[in-house]
């Protein structure tokens, strides 16, 4: 565990440094409060600090106050070292944001015991942060596939649509549905069905760029958002995504399966500002058309109720590449 010592007095600093090294700490020692802040404000800086009260530049309580004004940062456990003993000063020290204080000259056993208290607090904080992160992930992700869940991907799509509107770019919305998925579940069971969904999720993620979004929209339905996607290239990118499913069999515990996906594509630039629900509805109609056209294909939603197949050249080009 790393620890910062700030003490302007060389003898005391050296004594502390050695005592803490003996106790197994990785020690950084500085001689004033300003240097202490520099260390503590470093990304990944020490989270335990032993600060002398009286120091040039910035005193111990000053360091505590500066550290405590920062928010959204990992907690720093700070112990003030003081030769002052009065109650008022103890209160002043703790009010400045220190977690504890020790009077000098310190007793090394007591010092170590108090630092262990600090370590316990930090461990507790780490656990809380971890728990919060886990909950945040669970609240925004699908538990089976670990993709974004429906509400999370729709949130992101909403923001992306606003951004593309502002920046005069186009967002491509793709709704994909696994063809005849019910048959997999009915004939091979839900375990295989789950395996298929996980593999499809992985393939979709590999088929998009790191800044695109893939979410599980419903049972076997996926929503893919291609951010700032040139409308001219969107159909061929959608075709590639489709092919990423049909090109290779999916291995399951019941053997390899050949599966396909039908897709409905919508380019936000074609539609202008519309509520997200309307756009998704239109993409869904295109997806339905793809199903009606025999599945394993792509249909593009155009305004005025027009549904288009991708240009033949696009289909052929993609076919050649695979």
């Amino acid at each position: 565990m790393r620890i910062l010592i700030a003490d302007d007095e060389a003898l005391s600093r050296r004594l502390l440094e050695k005592t803490l090294e003996h106790a197994g700490y990785e020690v950084t020692a500085v001689e004033n409060g300003k240097r202490a802040l520099e260390q503590l404000f470093k990304p990944d800086g020490p989270r335990l600090a032993l600060l002398d009260w009286v120091m040039p530049e910035l005193d111990g309580p000053g360091v505590c106050r500066a550290v405590r004004t920062r928010s959204e940062q990992p907690y720093v456990y700070m112990v003030l070292l003081t030769s002052k003993g009065s109650k008022e000063e103890t209160v002043l020290g703790l009010e400045s944001g220190a977690d504890d204080y020790l009077t000098k000259p310190f007793d090394s056993e007591e010092l170590r015991a108090r630092l262990r208290v600090g370590e316990r607090i930090l461990l507790l904080e780490d656990r809380l942060v971890q728990a919060r992160e886990n909950m945040r992930f669970r609240a925004t992700h699908d538990s089976l596939t670990s993709l974004l869940n429906r509400s999370a991907v729709m949130d992101l799509l909403g923001r992306e649509l606003q951004r593309s509107q502002r920046e005069h770019k186009s967002t491509a919305i793709l709704l994909g549905d696994v063809d005849h998925f019910k048959r997999v579940n009915d004939t091979l069971g839900h375990v295989v069905g789950d395996e298929v969904l996980i593999e499809i999720a992985n393939r979709l993620l590999s088929a998009v760029r790191s800044y695109d979004y893939v979410g599980r929209y419903g049972g076997e339905e996926f929503l893919i958002v291609l951010n700032s996607c040139d409308p001219n290239y969107a159909p061929s990118r959608a075709e590639e995504i489709r092919k990423s499913i049909s090109n290779h069999q999916i291995n399951t515990v019941k053997g390899p399966l050949s599966l396909t996906m039908s897709l409905g594509l919508l380019l936000s630039a074609d539609w202008g500002p519309r509520p997200i629900e309307d756009l998704l509805h239109e993409a869904d109609i295109a997806l339905y058309e793809a199903k009606a056209a025999g599945r394993d294909c792509l249909r593009i939603a155009k305004p005025l109720g027009k549904i288009e197949a991708p240009p033949v050249a696009v289909q052929q080009a993609v076919r050649r590449r695979h």
């Binding site: 007095e9 060389a10 050296r14 005592t19 003996h22 030769s83 000098k104």
Partner: protein, 125 residues
């Protein structure tokens, strides 16, 4: 070495206490004495100047620094003298009492320093 009849609080330099504090790290103990012998003379010189100039603020902070140094070293009597001086300087004490307190600190230092020198001579042998 001090007379064994003297109580702990009257010891000029409590070496066993310091041994305990450094957890019997002899090398560290020598290093601390060396740091002290390097820092103490110039700090007390600045303090003498501050007291002579009636500079209460510096008198207080310098005697505070000396108090810490001395206490860490296990020189309780000199540390108490430095504490007294710090207290007087902080509460804007009379010039004469400030000078008296400084004299007391100097007297303590005068008995402490030879002990440190003797120790260093001893361990170097």
């Amino acid at each position: 070495m001090k007379n064994s009849e003297e109580s702990i609080s009257e010891q000029v330099w409590n070496l066993p206490e310091l041994h305990e504090r450094v957890e019997n790290d002899q090398e560290l103990l020598r290093e601390l004495v060396t740091i002290f012998r390097r820092d103490f003379p110039r700090t007390i010189r600045s303090l003498e100047e501050a007291v002579a100039a009636g500079d209460l603020k510096n008198s207080a902070s310098l005697s505070h620094a000396l108090k810490g140094m001395l206490a860490n070293l296990g020189a309780a009597r000199a540390a108490a003298a430095a504490a007294m001086l710090e207290k007087m300087a902080s509460s804007a004490g009379e010039e004469t009492s400030l000078k008296n307190a400084l004299n007391a600190l100097q007297r303590e230092a005068a008995s402490l320093l030879p002990e440190l020198d003797a120790y260093m001579k001893e361990v170097r042998r």
